[in-house]
């Protein structure tokens, strides 16, 4: 089991609507959610679930810190000024900066952090997992296939054909 991971909000709200959402805590003891992302969550259902996870110690809200902000701004400027790289948002840049500075994986289903981590030398080595990466870490064979189908049905998130092929999943 890896100990900690930083998650972005979009990833978390979708993952929490997956019927097997608890599986993520077989991979990570605790998920870190930057507080910069909290005001984006308004629904009582999602907030209730976040509060429950905080209460049981599975989720920690990260306070905003200057040194992370500085790195996030650097990443934000760099990614958004580099031709060809998908645009990165402020909260994603903050999550990526925190993950990079602390040697933690970042959990996100957005393309930008993953592409940036692969393309920019100062981010090389930063691990970015998306939902399919986590499903492949959690399940194998027919159980993986079932989990992928359930995940796509519960969240309306679709994995591209290429990603499924790379993961060895045939639907």
């Amino acid at each position: 089991m890896m100990s900690l991971a930083v998650a972005d909000t979009c990833f978390l709200i979708n993952w929490l609507s997956f019927r097997r959402w608890e599986g993520i805590f077989r991979l990570f003891y605790r998920i870190l959610l930057p507080s910069i992302m909290l005001p984006e969550l308004r629904s009582r259902r999602v907030r209730g679930k976040i509060e429950e996870l905080v209460y049981r110690g599975s989720l920690v809200i990260l306070p905003r810190a200057d040194y992370v902000d500085r790195e996030a701004l650097r990443i934000f400027n760099l990614v958004n000024s580099t031709p060809g790289l998908p645009r990165i948002d402020e909260p994603e840049a903050y999550g990526l900066a925190y993950a990079a500075l602390h040697g933690l994986p970042l959990l996100t289903d957005n393309a930008s952090p993953k592409v940036a981590a692969r393309s920019l030398s100062s981010l090389r080595g930063v691990v970015v997992y998306d939902s399919l990466d986590l499903l492949t870490l959690l399940y194998r064979g027919s159980e993986l296939r079932a989990a992928v189908e359930e995940f796509m049905s519960d969240t309306s998130i679709i994995f591209s054909r290429e990603r499924l092929r790379e993961a060895g999943v045939e639907l």
Partner: protein, 98 residues
């Protein structure tokens, strides 16, 4: 210093070294996948549902179809992220992990 080195690295993606070429190919492949994802969102979306929604929700959903970026669409339209995510499911707009 670090930033300029990074930009230099990024700008040499198309340089004729094998690692830079491979990286440029990977990036090109990725961007192609993102373009296919946009087409899939356009095809899958329930446009009648989207058109029936009040503003600013309608614009937020259209932005989401074009960008695939939930946060960006939420921020620009002022529709809360989790509310937009629920609406996206009703509008049958898939988020595509490429």
């Amino acid at each position: 210093m670090k930033a300029s080195r990074d930009i230099a690295t990024a700008q040499t993606l198309s340089a004729p070294t094998s690692s830079a070429r491979r990286m440029a190919e990977q990036l090109g492949d990725y961007l192609k996948r993102l373009e296919e994802a946009k087409e899939l969102r356009r095809r899958s979306a329930d446009w009648a549902y989207i058109e029936s929604r009040p503003e600013p929700l309608r614009t937020a959903l259209k932005l989401l179809v074009e960008t695939g970026d939930l946060w960006y669409s939420s921020k620009l339209s002022g529709v809360p992220l989790d509310e937009l995510n629920e609406e996206r499911k009703r509008a049958r707009i898939p988020l595509v992990v490429a």
